[in-house]
Structure formats: structure tokens, C-alpha cells
Subunit: 342 residues, 2 copies
Amino acid sequence: MEENKHVTIYDIAERLNLATSTISRALKDHHTISDKTIKKVKKTAEEMGFVPNTLAAGLRGNKTRTIGVLIPTVTQPFLSSLISGIEITAQKSDYTVIIMQSHDSYEEEVNMAKSLYSNRVSGVICSLAMETRDTAHFHQFSNNNIPLVFVDRVPKDYNTFRVVIDNYTAGYKATKHLIEQGCIRIAHLTAGSELGNLYNERKRGYIEALKDHNIEVEEELIINLNSVTYEDGVKASNALFDLKPIPDGLFAPGDILAVSAVQTAKKRGIKVPEEFKVIGFNNDPISQIIDPNLSTITHPAEKMGKAAAEIIIKNLMSAKNDDAKEITFLNTEVLARESTEK
Amino acid sequence: MEENKHVTIYDIAERLNLATSTISRALKDHHTISDKTIKKVKKTAEEMGFVPNTLAAGLRGNKTRTIGVLIPTVTQPFLSSLISGIEITAQKSDYTVIIMQSHDSYEEEVNMAKSLYSNRVSGVICSLAMETRDTAHFHQFSNNNIPLVFVDRVPKDYNTFRVVIDNYTAGYKATKHLIEQGCIRIAHLTAGSELGNLYNERKRGYIEALKDHNIEVEEELIINLNSVTYEDGVKASNALFDLKPIPDGLFAPGDILAVSAVQTAKKRGIKVPEEFKVIGFNNDPISQIIDPNLSTITHPAEKMGKAAAEIIIKNLMSAKNDDAKEITFLNTEVLARESTEK
DNA sequence: ACAACAATTGCAATCGGTTGCGTAAAAATA
DNA sequence: TATTTTTACGCAACCGATTGCAATTGTTGT
């Protein structure tokens, strides 16, 4: 096996009897280099199998064309779609994406943030870990003019870009849909998280919708979960079905929870949607697989990823850090399917 | 907003009136540095908010402690679990993971490979794009002693590490399971792909299982798909259900396909599993959501990811490139669920 | 033919850790 | 006390691309 040492611009320079500066400029079509030389350099570079060393360029120029992505996990459909969106947009502008998972751990998030900074990423896109209660570990980015975009699970009081949906309105719409389908005793699952306040917002929407339709808010119909998992969903569903009478509707702020409710209902012989209507959240793939098909709220993951990446790239180009750190709201819609049919 | 310039070892050296070499060594507990100095340096580094510049270290040492992952997409459950496994293992050894998606395009795969090389990754883990027919773009890694591990969809004749399941045996097991459950006319979906020959292997297992049980292999029961998608699965299923008599079993080499078959059957009033038994592949989340629950073949995604990352890291530490480039086979099992019940 | 200017290319410093080698100071040995 | 050995640290080159400025060559104008 041949041991090709990496080909550098020095090798090209030597071969062509030119200076490295000329090679460097020729390779990026600098206007002070003649067409003849540019052609010659590019041809030789190609022949020699030259691949620029990103590290050297990054070190010298203090910019890496790399976007760091810090998210709880890549295995949730919403987040993997988010990544996909980021990646597509990044690629178009020739940016590389580094992905790190916090596994919803604060400690890991802190470490990963440091690692991203250490890698001198040009920008950061982050969805907060569940555990995270303070955001001091993001100051290193803000303080060094590295654009930072929070997505979906965002801190409330951090002056930076945010890409989110209007969770309040989404929760309101979901609940209103159930009411319109005839529900009058609507349960809700929620989860505590101070910083990424999206569950609180959805709950607020739920409550407001009930009030606006003169439906009493019953505390026993609102269950607080420790974690948004299938297992916890089953537990909560069983608790709801132990009530008499059982509620006639459920707004679950995640499709996994909604699915767990549907399946628990089935097991207990409760008919969905006849006796119990369910609407989920996210429009995960499973929502179209389960029988009955799950009504849900769209959560434009890929769009959000694209939007976040665009903000980073745009901000990096303009080089002004005095831009307003606006919040981008993307739309959500009710997808009415079988699980809420009258 | 304060504009902290990045703190460097030069800053620390100046503050403590030491040489940068001493700082550098102290920070990594070099034995020639006194404990007193080490403590002092670390404390000061902490105070000053020093974060090492990975680029500089990588450039100098020509190693980045970064693993490049090149896969078709992150949105498939199998692949996102694979990433998860890679990431967990990498993190333990303090490696960073860069993820790139080929979107099953040969051209993108070539570009991304170049980008990874350009970023001087320490190792590469790759699952081939569907389109890929030649692997010349991986020579740059092999030629430069950068460990390369192919996972799942691997080239047949490339002398490097491979982490796979035994697709032949898995296909055999799946088919045998259907036979044991009483099927005698078993259909199969497959897809062409010369390099990542896993569908061919599964098909081989299918055929051998039939032969071993004295069941005739009928060409009309084997449908070749253009793509492994829900839509193509529906088309194929409809084609199968147009036959008379319809087959009584199906081995689908992917849960999405299996699900499409189950749902198509339902729509046409064909009862699963009474009239038509289905076994899928991968044990995707949807396999436990669909009604009836889907029998399937386990595909140990996270384990494969961990194994691949371990190979990379181990190889990087031993620094011998003459190791045997062995193939790692991970086990698969039949998960018998409702969709193949007698 | 010569100044003035434009078009090309070269020189050398720079980014920030890393590391081989050299050296001064402290400790051990003769 | 003189000499050898350790211990602890400094010097300076290095990785490879970038870029401000200097230098060279080629053009145009008068």
C-alpha cells in the first residue's frame, strides 16, 4: 500500500516553480492571478490529488465553515429531521456540520459546548437538554461573536436567535379541534421543564381553549410526566382510564404519548375515536402507521433546521453582530385524521 | 457585549512567566513538569477561561481525534441508532463525531468523502449510498493510513474493516420462520444494489430456506423494487394481492415495506396474519406500533455503531496498519410477534 | 524613449499548540 | 568539593494555508 503523504500547496508550488501564495490565490480564483496560471495550478493540483487542509485554513483565518449542532439525541424523528434540514442548507453553502448529542444531560451539554468551541465552529445550533437550567455555557459563543441559534427547546431569556413554533397557539388549536369534534372532558399530559418551556406553553394553550369554550379546567385531567416516553405515557393513560367517567378526549403533546394512549385504550377495550379521541403532536411517522391514524399537530422539523442554518450563514456573511436577534416562528397545523373523527 | 479574544497558551505563559512549551506540557500532565507548576498552570488556565484550539493541535500533530461518519441519511431509525452508538463510544474516548449525509447519491458521497479528508478526520465510518458503484473515493483514507470501517452496506471487495450482520442467515431465518408458521407460498421483496449487496444476500437466504424445505421458488413472488420506500412497498403489495391465489406469506427486507404490505392488506380486506403472514426487518419503532405487531428481524444498530467506533479507536491507538482487516459479524434474531401468528 | 500605471507574482509573518533538543539548577554520588 | 545524574523548563522549528506589502514584469501614454 502506497503511503501518500498529504499533498500540500508547497508541493504544487515546488512542482510549478511558483510561490505558495500564488498557489493559494490561484486555487480560489483571485483576480490578481492570470488565467493562464490559474488553469495551470488547478490542473496540477488535480493531478497531484491535492486536498486543502481545512485545519490550516481554519487556524489562520479563524473561521472553519463549520456549524456545530448540539441536540439531545439524533434518534427522535423530529430531531433527525431537524438535522436533515440543517445539513441540506449547510451543504449548499459549503458548510460542514458537526453533531453532538447531550442525551438530555446538562453535564454532557456543557462538555459538548466546550468541545464545539474548541473546534472553533463558525456557528452553533442548539436544542436544549431537558436537564438544563442555566445557559452560562453558551456565553463563550455569544462573547466571541459566534452566531448561536436555539431551536425548539429554547431558553426564555437569552438574547440570541431562536427558531420555534408557537407552542401556545398549537396547544390551543389542538384542544379546539377536540372540542369541535365533540369532546367536553379533555385530558392533557404535560412535562415540567423550566427552560425549554414548550410543554408549559402547550398547556397554556390547552387551558385557554377550554376557557374560551366554557369548559371547566379539571386538575385531575392534567397529568404531569417525568419523561416523555412510551412507558410514562402508558402509566398516565391508565390513570386517566381509571377515572369515572373517563375523559372523552386527550391532547398529548407528543405522538409517542398519543400512541401509548391509543394502544392502552385498545387494551382496555376503549374505542378510539368513538369513546375517546386523541390528538398528538409532531406528525411523527408512527402517527400514520397506527390504527386508527393519529390526528396530530405538524411540527416543521426540516424547515426549522433550514431556517436555523440560514440564520447562521446569513449572519456569518454580514459580519455585523448588531443585528436584531429575532425570533423566527414557523407555522403549525392541525392534521385531522381518524383518531379524532366524530 | 465584551469581546473576549480567545485565550491561548501564550496568554497563560505570559501571565505565569513561563514558556508555552511548559504550559502545553503542564496541561497534559507531562512527567517532566513539576506538580507545583502543573497545578499552577491548570488553575490559571481555568481562571482565564482557556479552551485549547483543536485546529492548531490537529494541524501540528496531524491528528484530530475526530471520527467522520458518512451515511445515506440520519432520518432512518437504523442509521440514527447507528450514529447514537458511534457517538456514545467516541465520547468515552474523547473523540468528536462529524456526520455527513450522502442522501444515497454517489456524487454527494464523493464530495463528502473529500470534505472529511479535508477536515483530516482520524477515522471514517461509512455506510454506502445506494447509487455507489465504485469506491475509489475511499482510497484517500486507505492510502494515508486513516482507519476506514464500512458498516451495514459495505463493498464486497475492499480490503478494510467491515461491521455487518449476516444478511444471508438473517434472510434464511426469516423465511424459515414463515415456513414454520405454516406458509407455503412466500413472497419476497428485494432491491438491486451491486455494492451494498445486503438485499441480494437476504434474497439468497430466502431462496435457500425455500429449497431446504422443498418449496418451489416462484419468480412471480419475488418483486424487485426501485427504492425501499413505503410507496414502492404499496405498489408491490398490490401486485402480490392481484395474483390468484395470493401468497400466504411475505418476507420484506425492511419494516417500512412490511408495514406497507400490512396496511395494503388491511385495505383490501385481507386478514393479517390469518390469510397473510408478514415478517419485516430491522425492528424499527413502527414494528411495535402497527396493528398487528410486526414480526421482524433484529438489526443491532447501536451495537454496530459501537463496534465500528471501537475498531477505529483501537486501530488509532495501536498505530500498526498491518492489522488484519477483519469483518465483524453481529447477531440477528427473529422477533416473532403478531403478524406471523398461526 | 521614458515616466506612470496596471497586472502578476514573491516574500515572510501569522494562526496556536506540539515536540526534539539543549541547558540551568537541584540532587545524588564519588 | 568535584562530578555525574535527575529534574524542570526554555528555545525554536514545525504543521499548511492565508494575506499585507514589496517587487517584478508588462502596458499605455506622451
